[in-house]
């Protein structure tokens, strides 16, 4: 196995002044280039884990290290981490409704110092990769659920992050669209050696991952590893 890309130690996250315990001492490691599915019942802390890894929230206790570095705490470093170290895909695509598919990808590159022409080229290339080369000018309302999610993945990849965090990326898709999205995530791991952590309820989606981590009551319940053939 490669060097761990994500190292989580005794991670605790409480809400509502300690009355709700989302994570209760989670220990976990994910290797670089590994595609890991995190499953478990509702309220077991899956999404909380993704939010903590994406630096959208702070743990109550415990440590997280990504790419060998602890998560930053300073605002500027946080912005840099969210922009360059991780790509984030949500269950609901969260695309900006007024922008085209191409612009929705470009928006992640605003302020990165990438020239407009280069931004456009990169966005175009990513949409080609997710199979949307013919839909670049379409707005989210004109796209199907699967297409929107693929635009969201393209946006998450815009700044070449080595780690992709996906929170129920197939949760709102039909099976055909889900298959397409999962196939693309697998290709990212295989072709770009990208580390992927995907939260899912769907056993079929989890089956697409190299390994499944099951959470229960805020910590690991069982661990299953499935190697892709």
């Amino acid at each position: 196995m490669s060097e761990p890309d994500i190292v989580v130690k005794v991670l605790v996250k409480d809400f509502d002044h300690g009355r709700i315990h989302a994570l209760t001492g989670l220990d976990m490691e994910v290797a670089q280039g590994e595609f890991v599915a995190v499953t478990g019942p509702s309220g077991c802390g899956k999404s909380t884990l993704i939010h903590l890894l994406a630096a959208l929230d702070e743990p109550t206790h415990g440590t997280i290290a990504v790419h060998g570095q602890p998560l930053p705490s300073q605002p500027r470093q946080l912005d840099h981490y969210r922009r360059h170290a991780v790509g984030l895909v949500f269950q609901l695509h969260n695309l900006l409704p007024n922008l085209s598919a191409l612009q929705n990808v470009e928006i992640a590159m605003i302020g990165t110092g990438v020239a407009r022409r280069a931004q456009r080229k990169r966005a175009q290339q990513l949409l080609d990769e997710v199979g949307l080369s013919g839909r670049t000018t379409s707005r989210p309302a004109e796209l199907s659920g699967g297409e929107r999610q693929r635009v969201a993945i393209a946006r998450a990849l815009a700044n070449n992050p080595p780690l992709l965090l996906a929170d129920e990326p197939t949760g709102s898709l039909d099976s055909e669209a889900s298959t397409g999205v999962l196939a693309f995530l697998q290709s990212l791991r295989i072709e770009h050696n990208m580390t992927i952590l995907m939260v899912t309820h769907d056993p079929r989606a989890a089956a697409a991952a190299d390994r499944t981590i099951r959470l229960r009551d805020g910590r690991i319940d069982t661990e299953a590893v499935e190697v892709l053939t």
């Binding site: 939010h51 994406a54 959208l56 929230d57 605002p75 500027r76 912005d79 840099h80 981490y81 969210r82 922009r83 360059h84 984030l88 949500f90 969260n94 900006l96 007024n98 922008l99 612009q103 470009e106 928006i107 992640a108 590159m109 605003i110 302020g111 407009r116 931004q119 456009r120 946006r155 998450a156 700044n159």
Partner: protein
């Protein structure tokens, strides 16, 4: 895509709202620019009265509500003339008459014929009136052209018919749209014998103007000397009131405009909270969110300000055609007008958008993304 592209895109996506907000800004700018041009023009016209001729300064009664109510006695004029540093002083009486519906404020200026040259009056056609004539008058060339009257013709002002002996030019719009007649004749008509509105004083070369002014104000405390625009309020309280009204109107327009901008920006903030959360989650800094929100408001304000200036041009032209303002309102658009509009737009952006922008930036990404 850069931030400007995104700002443009967002405004175009909400066209109706952007246009209405821009309109609110435009109306604010229209009000401010029009009031500003009106006040500045009235002040300029008033000042041009005092600057007519080649005087170093003017003298009028202190604290009157309107310069036309100023009363300076012949004895005051005589006293000023005796001061050692004064080279010359002339007194004029200014009165307003209604000529017709289109000229409700026609000015008559009473000046002794021997003082015309010193008063800066150049007879460009015909001759000056005689000192004792009761039915002779000269018209400024603008007034003559406006009324279609020539030398040798006649003009009737409030049942009194005068023969036009000459056409004059003063170099001041105010003077050139007026008429002139002998001082004693006007004093008799106005039933103000021995009374004048203004004195025009010229001092000897090398003498200290301020010293002479102080001397006059000390010897004749009921009078005030006027040399600059800022002195004018001392002899015309109306101008102070007009300036105060301008300021009040401008502040009101600013507040209304800023509330309009804030209303739109806050509404947009509530509608787009989730969007701001997503942008923060994908690495946008707080400052970039602030720049986006303020940039959108600034672009609307700028476009609104430009529209407001164009509308103000039209409004001022319309005002200048009003009979009540003919000869008094001579609008000039200076670069200051545009700076004022730009400053106004910037202030509205600042007042209207900073708070919503700060709120948008302060929200944590997760909290914002959960917003429905």
């Amino acid at each position: 895509m850069n931030l400007i592209d995104l700002i443009r895109q967002n405004l175009l996506a909400r066209k109706a709202r952007s246009i209405l907000t821009g309109l609110a800004v435009a109306i604010g700018v229209l009000t401010i620019v029009t009031l500003g041009v009106l006040t500045s023009s009235l002040r300029g016209t008033a000042l041009s009265v005092l600057r007519t001729g080649r005087a170093d300064f003017s003298v009028a009664q202190e604290g009157v509500s309107d310069l036309l109510y100023s009363a300076v006695d012949t004895s005051d004029l005589d006293h000023v003339r005796t001061l050692p540093d004064v080279e010359s002083a002339i007194g004029v009486l200014v009165a307003v008459s209604k000529l017709d519906a289109n000229h409700p404020l026609f000015l008559k200026i009473g000046v002794p014929p021997e003082s015309l040259a010193e008063f800066g009056v150049k007879v460009v056609d015909g001759r000056a009136y005689s000192s004792k004539a009761t039915n002779e008058i000269m018209l400024g060339y603008r007034a003559a052209a406006d009324l279609g009257v020539h030398v040798g013709g006649s003009i009737t002002i409030e049942d009194h018919t005068y023969k036009v002996t000459g056409i004059f030019s003063t170099g001041q719009v105010f003077g050139d749209t007026a008429s002139m007649l002998p001082l004693t004749t006007l004093q008799a008509e106005e039933r103000k014998p021995g009374s004048m509105t203004l004195l025009f004083v010229r001092i000897k070369p090398g003498a200290n103007i301020d010293k002479v002014r102080k001397q006059i104000e000390s010897d004749l405390p009921q009078l005030a000397t006027v040399r600059t625009q800022s002195d004018f309020g001392r002899v015309d309280r109306n101008l102070i009131l007009i300036t105060a009204a301008n300021l009040g109107g401008s502040v009101l327009a600013l507040i209304i405009g800023a509330v309009g901008v804030m209303n739109t920006t806050l509404l947009s903030f509530f509608e787009r909270t989730r969007e701001f959360g997503v942008l923060r989650a994908i690495g946008w800094s707080r400052m970039r969110i602030v720049a986006l929100v303020i940039g959108e408001a600034a672009m609307v304000c700028l476009l609104g300000a430009m529209a407001g200036v164009v509308l103000a041009f039209g409004a001022v032209r319309l005002l200048a055609r009003l009979p009540d303002l003919l000869g008094i309102f001579n609008p000039t658009f200076s670069a200051g007008v545009f700076w004022r509009a730009l400053g106004f737009a910037a202030l509205m952006t600042l007042l209207g958008a900073v708070y919503p922008a700060a709120r948008a930036a302060r929200r944590e990404p997760l909290e914002a993304m959960r917003h429905e």
